[in-house]
């Protein structure tokens, strides 16, 4: 039906190596084409609409998120569909080598996020670009966000005295089953874009450009399940996820919850940065399927269909309603150990440790010990790491514990934004 988009979709489909029959493929293509047409025209499918798909789809990759600014992109930026989290350990010899690494990362990020044509090289030379996205790199709303782990502030580069005051190596919470091969790291590079090929292109580019100065420690791939008609996307448990979040357009609120402020307890160079938490949380999807919906709702504290708080029983209730527990001290409506109530109990003593900016992704990593490896890449940004730690400590008591298994991730500090074309990542830390 849509000649132009079919080959691309075919490639994506066969790329899995999944033995899909012609029937399955056909229905997939139908669905995909209908989705595209619906998004562009919102009218009945016809040849004219179908032909219009390709230019529109291409145009959508032209969106660029400014790289420079007071804060890094990829934090307040509305989450893109695709993400790669790369944790790396720095292998540079000395602080000059570290500075070179950060300059290189800055240069690559600046180019990749703006897009353009890589330098031409003779066909018998090593290519200047991996070519994954073709001869011209389109920005595709790519963001690259650099964060530093506590281990970078050891004695290797003389940074110990400049460490953000709350930055520590993630310690396991009581129900964590941390696998050290997917924990911590000197650096976290968060790569987000609208499409998978863009994030992979950027990852390969960055690793290729920084050979010798850092090495890969672990990697986590995430995707955002797209929202349906009801606004908020759902996680693999079928619940709307990430409903309550600070308004990123409210700069006062962002300063309060997310951004490190100047003249605070933090070192001066850190102003405009933020603590960056990543947690790799496996979902026991089989066990969850056996839980009746009413109990699932008690475990999470929200209605499954609507995403609304439990006081709203209609399926079309708004998920924007704020949960209320103040007249329910025994948790008869919203159980005390439900996820949302422990995350934010709405009490005076927990008010200061109940708001973070979440920017999570879902992950689907095939099989792990013959079990589906579906889970959630919990990602949050907060002005104080201790806010997250307090919140997660409360959640040690949550009823969701048997259905999830936190296995990796770490604590990092997202450095301030790169101010202008002369600036580079963490310049204030390194000079």
């Amino acid at each position: 039906m849509t000649e132009e988009s079919s080959p691309a979709l075919e490639r994506e489909w066969s790329g899995d190596g999944c033995p899909a029959g012609p029937f399955a493929r056909r229905s997939f293509l139908h669905a995909a084409a209908a989705g595209l047409a619906g998004a562009t025209a919102g009218t009945a499918l016809g040849d004219r609409e179908a032909q219009a798909d390709t230019p529109v789809a291409v145009a959508a990759r032209a969106g660029a998120v400014p790289f420079e600014g007071r804060h890094q992109a990829g934090i307040a930026t509305p989450p893109q569909q695709d993400a790669i989290f790369l944790s790396c350990d720095v292998t540079a010899d000395d602080s000059d080598g570290l500075t070179d690494l950060f300059r290189t990362l800055t240069d690559r990020a600046r180019f990749l996020t703006a897009g353009g044509t890589p330098p031409k090289v003779p066909p018998d030379s090593v290519p200047s670009d991996n070519g994954i996205v073709g001869p011209t790199v389109e920005p595709d709303n790519l963001t690259l966000t650099l964060s530093l782990g506590a281990s970078l502030f050891d004695d290797r580069y003389g940074l110990a005295s400049r460490k953000p005051v709350q930055l520590v190596t993630m310690q396991p919470f009581i129900h964590d089953e941390l696998n050290s091969s997917i924990c911590h790291g000197d650096l976290l590079i968060q790569i987000c874009a609208d499409h998978r090929d863009t994030t992979v292109h950027a990852m390969v580019d960055i690793l290729n450009s920084t050979k010798g100065a850092m090495k890969l420690r672990w990697r986590l791939d995430g995707l955002r399940n797209p929202p349906r008609h009801d606004r908020v996307r759902r996680d693999w448990f079928g619940f709307k996820h990430g409903i309550t979040n600070p308004d990123t357009a409210d700069t006062g609120r962002m300063d309060q919850v997310v951004w490190t402020q100047p003249k605070s307890a933090e070192p001066d160079w850190a102003a405009g940065g933020t603590y960056h938490v990543v947690r790799i949380v496996h979902f026991f999807i089989d066990a969850w399927q056996k839980v009746p919906v009413a109990q699932q709702e008690r475990i999470l504290g929200r209605r499954k269909v609507s995403g609304a708080p439990v006081y709203a029983t209609s399926d079309d209730a708004s998920d924007r309603m704020v949960p209320v527990y103040t007249n329910d001290p025994q948790g008869l409506l919203t159980p005390i150990n439900s996820h949302i109530r422990l995350a934010n109990p709405q009490t005076p003593e927990t008010a200061a440790t109940s708001a973070v900016l979440r920017r999570g992704y879902d992950y689907d990593h095939g099989l792990d010990a013959r079990e589906l490896d579906l889970g959630h890449a919990f990602v949050s940004f907060q002005r104080e790491l201790n806010t997250y730690i307090a919140m997660q400590t409360r959640l040690e008591a949550e009823a969701l514990v048997p259905y999830i298994s936190p296995r990796g991730g770490g604590y990092f500090f997202a450095v301030p934004g790169v101010r202008d074309e002369h600036d580079y990542f963490a310049s204030g830390l390194l000079t």
Partner: protein
């Protein structure tokens, strides 16, 4: 199994409603007939007589601020905050003595009642009660204070001469609200967890019966004639009119999840504070219908508690850190008083 469960869960309440509806309609008809004079008067109630009401002007409005542990004292004439007082831990419900001299605050986070001297705006004492006291009511003669202990399934009775608890009455599960009859003979306790009202004989200080009151009664108020209790049924999105004597119930659907209910002094109108849409439903008591809906804030949560005088409807808005003042005649928000962090309870001195 999974889809079947979900369908079943969704369908069950619908069927229940469907079956109950005819019965409710009959109940409404009965009450309508018995209330005909009031109902016919309802049409003119907006311009009706408010002769008895002048004394309310110039009083004080008290608001507890749940998240910053303070009490805002507001001048009812100017709608200005005249004092902010420390008021325990996570203060919730609040009541004023009939002579206006003392204010009783449910100190939810500390399991006690705080007592404020209204003349000096100073706390004069605290009295230990049950866990999570959430609402308070004072008897019409000012002699006793009744405290709904949401965490202890009990009501504490406090003697105001000695400021001691003289009785602790076991009630239903998770009591959220308490109201007294005008003659002081009966206290009604809305049990959020057990879906009923505990009726307390204040002379014997015993529960004499439990009256079914919907799914999750979060607030209760009495009509001035003492014949009906109005109940905010939070998760059913209804306000229930319960005939005290016959226990007959009439339900009126409101805009969201009613968190509190108040009855106007003239007995013609009930108001519910509907969380979710952030609005007030104005319920015609004679006609058993929502007459008007007043938007008080941005949709989300607001409002929490509501109090009505002849002159004003006061509504706390925790999301806006404000007290909304509504003119009951025009049904417009005439003032929005900035108070503390997450205002909860509201009470008006005579």
């Amino acid at each position: 199994m999974f889809p079947a469960l979900r369908t079943g869960a969704r369908r069950a309440p619908g069927r229940g409603r469907g079956r109950r509806r005819p019965a409710l309609a009959v109940g409404a008809a009965v009450l309508l007939t018995s209330c005909t004079p009031a109902a016919s008067g309802g049409a003119v109630s907006e311009s009706g007589p408010h002769a008895a009401a002048d004394r309310a002007a110039g009083g004080r409005v008290y608001v507890t601020n749940h998240f910053d542990n303070t009490l805002s004292v507001i001048d009812a004439r100017s709608n200005k905050v005249v004092a902010t007082v420390d008021a325990g831990v996570a203060p919730e419900g609040i009541a004023v003595s009939p002579d206006g001299s003392r204010v009783y605050i449910a100190d939810n986070g500390a399991a006690r009642i705080s007592i404020l001297d209204a003349r000096t705006n100073k706390l004069t004492g605290t009295v230990p009660v049950g866990n999570n006291p959430t609402d308070v009511a004072v008897s019409p003669d000012g002699r006793f204070v009744y405290v709904a202990n949401g965490g202890s399934n009990s009501v504490s009775v406090l003697d105001t001469r000695t400021d001691q608890v003289t009785a602790t009455v076991p009630v239903g599960s998770s009591p959220a609200s308490v109201a007294l009859s005008r003659d002081g003979a009966t206290a009604y306790v809305a049990n959020l967890g057990s879906g009923n009202l505990s009726v307390i004989d204040t002379r014997t200080v015993r529960v004499t019966r439990n009256v079914p009151a919907g799914r999750t009664p979060a607030g209760v108020a009495l009509t001035p004639d003492g014949e009906s209790a109005y109940v905010a049924d939070e998760t059913a999105a209804k306000v229930l009119a319960i005939n005290i004597r016959t226990e007959e119930m009439t339900a009126v659907r409101v805009g969201g999840a009613p968190f509190d209910v108040a009855v106007a002094p003239d007995g013609r109108t009930a108001y519910t504070a509907d969380i979710g849409p952030g609005s007030i439903s104005v319920v015609d008591i004679g006609g058993h219908r929502v007459q008007a809906t007043v938007a008080v804030g941005t949709a989300g949560t607001d409002p929490f508690d509501i109090e009505v005088t002849d002159h004003a409807v006061y509504v706390t808005q925790p999301g806006a850190d404000a007290l909304a003042v509504i003119d009951p005649k025009t049904r417009k928000v005439v003032a929005r008083v900035p108070v503390g962090n997450s205002p909860y309870g509201v009470a008006v001195s005579p």
